[in-house]
Amino acid sequence: MFKYQFDWSVVTSGKYFEWLLSGLYTTIQLSLVAIVFSFLLGLVIAMMRMSNVKPVRWFAHGYLEFFRNTPLLVQIFFWYFGSYKILPTVINDWLNKTNFEFGAAVIALTIYTSAFIAEDIRSGVRSIPKEQLEAARSSGFSYVRSMQYIILPQAVRITIPPLINQFLNLTKNSSLAMTIGVMELTYQARQVESYTFKGFEAFTAATLVYVVLSIIITLMVTYYDKVVLSPMKAR
């Protein structure tokens, strides 16, 4: 039946296991850093998109349309091959000294995902009744402080399900970083395959790891939703 001899030991122990492990470590690092930055940047862009100042609103609108409508792979290549021509020398020097591949991947994933997160947060804000803003303003809070203490904390809670989706997408999208030489999980699985010709085992292992990662992210965010946020939804 099968001519192919399965050899799972390739991916469960020894040198190749260590490669996969280090790939997983890089994937987690890359995803976590980009998740934090894309959330913060997404918040800022969402605020700008709802600003009363027209040029600010237009800029944010252009940002959203531009980064949501171009392929992530092109954006990764842009930041890796093209960015050093436009970025200030200080940033280039810093990137070269640290890890340029990793840095370019973080920038691309952050900017790309922030555009989606900004739209999710904006629809969350729009779903908060306008009376909440009125209550905050009539206590003497400025527009920005009202957003900070009253509107955004509620909007982010509502936005949690779509945010989980964006975080999962980001984690999966981080595999594209292999194209610029970031030694993350998919890159290492590919390496194992090249050295051992055990492609089935290598990519099965990588696939399972992505599934487990996704489940962990979902559990973490739903735990937060249940334990921290449930009181306001009581009844």
């Binding site: 909440q132 209550a135 905050a136 009539s138 003497g140 509620q154 809670r157 009181p231 306001m232 009581a234």
Partner: protein, 244 residues
Amino acid sequence: MITFKGVHKWFKDLHVLNDINLHVNQGEVLVVCGPSGSGKSTLIRTINKLEPINEGTLIVDGMDLSDSKADINKLRAEIGFVFQQFNLYPHLSVMRNITLAPIKIRKIGKSEAEGQATALLERVGLAEKRDAYPTQLSGGQQQRVAIARALAMKPRIMLFDEPTSALDPEMIGEVLLVMKDLAQSGMTMIVVTHEMGFASEVSDRVVFMDEGRILEEAAPDEFFKNPKHERAQQFLKEVLSPMH
């Protein structure tokens, strides 16, 4: 304390406030009544500039609201506003609902703010609800918390926009009682309400509005016994005996 001089406001073609002239003294309790759509809610919402006016002069606590340089956030901190739908912050506990503005705007310490909030909760009869969330409270309890939240800023003026209209009948009394207690403490209050019992017992003056105008302004005894304007007579007949 509050002076309207020839104030007008339009919502597009609708003339919601038509030549309003009114003066409210410090410590006075004023009830504003009238049929729905008469402009009474808009009237009190102009006092803290939730609604800007289009024409005329409005001076609140010495500040001219038509002056674009006026620090509106500073003025709002001095004016407590109680909404028909309570508008408590659902993501914060009762305690944090009350202490948020004093801590962030008045910059007082957390323990001091919580001490004051505890005293206010006792005053509105909800001391045991300090850790509850708004959705766990009844409408009457939410409105009493909303009053405590407004009082926590130690306001100079309190505005009430139909504070009992969204409540079940058996909860109206508990809220009116808190408001009566507040009126007797000397607070300057403007109350938009249909509760004529509250108006006759607690208020110093009643203002009757219809179609954006103030049609009648009188002491409560006079207003209820001897309303002059035909629309006021008709309105009183309907609120006092709706089944007639």
